[in-house]
Structures are given as C-alpha cells and as structure tokens.
Symmetry: C2
Subunit: 70 residues, 2 copies
C-alpha cells in the first residue's frame, strides 16, 4: 500500500501547545507515520497509510481537538 | 502563616493550553494552593503561603514556561 502525504489547512492554532496537540492527536491514529503542524502556515502535513486511516479520520481527529479544518 | 493572594500580569498566553501550562507550573510549587489564569485579562491569580514560596518563585515559574511577567 502506498503511503500518502496530505497537507490540511487548520484554523485556530495559536501557539506551540496547539501545534503539539494537533500533531499528537494525528500521530495517535492507526496508520499515521508523521504529523507536522505549521503554526505560521496554519496547516499540518500528515504522512499516513490510506489503507489504515482515511482523510475523514484525520479531519475528525483535528476537529476533536477543537480546531477547524478549512 | 497567613495565605497571600497575588494577581500577576502575564503576557503571551494565547489559548487554553497556555493558561493550563501556567496554572500547572504554579501549582507544582511548594506552598501554592491555587492558581487560576485568565486568558482575556492576561493574568493569573495565585493563592499561596509566602512562608514557603516567594513572589519571585512564582514569576520564575511563569517565565520558565515561556511567558512574560509584566
């Protein structure tokens, strides 16, 4: 199964605690290899196995932390 | 020993993670009974025993979390 990289726009991250919370929530999902949030660019880049996790799962994890996906 | 209450102005808290980090750092000090940070008012109110912790200790704990005391 090929690994996907997805850049997701996230609104509401205001500090390093926020980026860490988003990264941690994504990394906890099955199939997510890496999640790197960028505060200035308001996004998170996720490397994951689409056979184990869908983009919807990624979006849900971000929203459950209290941030908005644009 | 009388208990003191001190309201300290803090710059740089941008979200609930920040207020939680400041509260936790203060609560970890000996003699601190309560620490409640207010994001909108940019301050934290600390109830503590001045015989166990000084105001300098409170300020240091806040600064070590990466915030500025004004």
């Amino acid at each position: 199964m090929a690994i996907s990289e997805e850049k997701i726009n996230v609104e509401g991250m205001s500090c390093g605690h926020c980026t860490a919370a988003v990264e941690k929530a994504l990394a906890a999902l099955a199939g997510v290899e890496k999640a790197v949030a960028n505060l200035g660019e308001k996004n998170v880049t996720v490397t994951y196995d689409p056979g184990k996790t869908t983009k919807d799962d990624l979006v849900n994890a971000i929203e459950e932390e209290g941030y908005e996906v644009k």
